[in-house]
């Protein structure tokens, strides 16, 4: 006994100090797992989680800015015992489009330009994942991040509406319509943001280009719509809305999701035109995905 004990302890110590190479013979979870890992890493990254403190500031700030008006509206509705919320669920994202645009512009480039700029992309493609996995993971991550950003205030509104004892069925319907609308919006904006960002390894260019694409198209469309409305060619107003992302979403939800249009004079598209809107939106989403695939097919090693 007395002799054995120290030997046992010695053996333990040797084991502790043995830092020789160990082979890995555990599970290898393959492509689908790698894609999920990339998705969760990118989604966390879109809110600065797992990154430096500095990179958390902007996305978190935008998230707060996005939610604060909803909180105020809820507070007002509860305090004044209003019969309805001051803003429709579907309308909220349209009002807050500048914040959403800023978010896409800041996080789109961070999702893809970084990998291009620091040439990390070859490291991904030297692993089991394929181009499609990378594109899908990044697309899904940014779309999810946008959904979180746009759906969170709707949840605040809905919770507030229930607190204020507004009509349950009415509010639930509006909330569901709002969720469908922001889902479409998230997919569309994420696609546009990623396609533009993936063109340049420079983050600054990416940010500027995304902001320009979103604001210039909206500015141009709403100006031309206003002119058309003033010249009482109201028939052209809905068709013009096809040319900017946010008016597209507006058109779709006006036609199908019971929203009131933000177009001049409330001249939203009819359900026939709405179908065109929907096709264009879905086409754009698919087109963005296709463009991203093409872009990354060329970025091999």
């Amino acid at each position: 006994m007395a002799v054995e004990q120290p030997t046992a302890r010695e053996a333990e110590q040797t084991r502790i100090h043995n830092i020789g190479y160990r082979n890995y013979d555990g599970p290898r979870l393959g492509r689908a797992y790698a894609r999920r890992s990339l998705y969760s890493q990118s989604l966390r990254g879109a809110y600065g989680l797992g990154r430096s403190v500095k990179s958390k500031v902007l996305p978190m700030l935008l998230f707060v800015v996005m939610c604060v008006p909803a909180l105020i509206m809820v507070a007002v509705a509860v305090a004044t015992k209003a019969k309805d919320l001051p803003v429709d669920y579907t309308r909220y994202a349209i009002i807050m489009q500048a914040v959403i645009g800023l978010y896409v512009a800041s996080q789109g480039p961070q999702a893809v330009s970084r990998d291009l700029r620091f040439k990390t992309v070859p490291l991904y493609f030297s692993r089991p994942i394929e181009t499609a996995d990378y594109v899908r993971a990044k697309y899904a991550a940014l779309a999810s991040a946008l959904f979180v950003l746009t759906a969170a205030p709707l949840i605040v509104l809905y919770a507030g509406a229930l607190l204020a004892k507004l009509d349950f069925a009415d509010q639930t319907k509006g909330f569901a319509q709002g969720l469908v609308s922001v889902t479409l919006l998230s997919l569309l904006f994420a696609g546009i943001g990623l396609v533009i960002s993936a063109l340049t390894p420079r983050r600054g260019f990416g940010i500027a280009a995304v902001i320009a694409a979103l604001t210039i198209s909206y500015g141009a469309v709403s100006t031309v719509q206003a002119i058309a409305f003033e010249q009482s060619s109201t028939g052209a107003v809905p068709w013009l809305g096809l040319f900017s992302p946010i008016t597209l979403i507006d058109g779709v939800q006006t036609a199908f999701l019971g929203a009131t249009s933000a177009f001049p004079g409330g001249e939203g598209p009819s359900s026939g035109q709405g179908l065109v809107y929907l096709i264009v939106v879905l086409g754009l989403i698919a087109g963005c995905y296709g463009l991203l695939m093409r872009r990354y097919r060329k970025v091999g090693l």
Partner: protein, 382 residues
Amino acid sequence: MDNRPVVDGRHPRTGGPAGGAATDGIRPQGDPYGPVRLESDADPAPWSDDRCGVRHYLRNVTVIATESLSKRFPRVTALDRLSVDVGPGVTGLVGANGAGKSTLIKILLGLSPATEGRAEVLGLDVATKGAAIRERVGYMPEHDCLPPDVSATEFVVHMARMSGLPPAAARERTADTLRHVGLYEERYRPIGGYSTGMKQRVKLAQALVHDPQLVFLDEPTNGLDPVGRDDMLGLIRRIHTDFGISVLVTSHLLGELERTCDHVVVIDGGKLLRSSSTTDFTQTTTTLAIEVTDTDEHPDGTLAVRDALHGRGIETHDGSGLPGAGHILLLTAEGEETYDLVRDVVADLGLGLVRMEQRRHHIAEVFKDSDEQRKEAVGHGG
């Protein structure tokens, strides 16, 4: 040892002498593809050898095999009918810039289709089993590939997960691997503040973190100072000896690979110049160095001997670039008779034979030899 039967059902290579070295180079014209393991031979349980812990003993498996592999771009031919077998161990892939090294690695990773020919890595066809290959292979690119704003630990953990390691295993393997490549406390700091040597270590760690069977290291010593270079070469050696991982390392410096590699493959302009073991490159038997005195009759004894030997149909070269160049004549010893011939020639000329010794090949001579062989091959092949 090549012909020893293997226990796990893998087929041993069907031919070739020990080490597979001597005949792997320029193959005889009649059998341009040589003995290549085909995919139909592939074993059904690729990781089983690991679990049994016998990976270190599978030395007679071909790790990389290409047959008549070509890659043509619209304007350039990057690879031109390259056929080469690479066994386990540390293999150097040498060639000037633009020789086709990186193109070869891309094809071997299954990322770029070959224009013609085929290739297998670890017995898996690159054209159809790219994902399976990439799961078992590590890759360290030549260029910088690290984001500066994350720490080495975070980055390598992420890369481990991208290789399919579960989160806990990814963290554990990352800590292990970073320690093995020599990164300690600094691994928690952002990579942006690292020296070139440390960055190279992180790049190496991300290639090793999933415990691959084979790693491709593209110019790992680029940009390192002499000490860093030595450290990196030592590390590469250890990847095979201590970790049991085969290595394909590219370089345009032959001297580096002389110390590190078991086997060297030389390509130039996408063509195979030579493939043989490092001991072959520097073996003692083939080259004979002779040095003679000058006499009044023959003011330049070396020149006289050379002419006389040429007269008897023996090729020589003056070993330019080597120590003692000009006074030393190098020739290939075909056998005992070469020694006798030299002795007779020198005696006939009345010169004094200062030395006649077997000379270790300097690895730099490879290019010279290969040029000759290439000319020969062209001459024969037409």
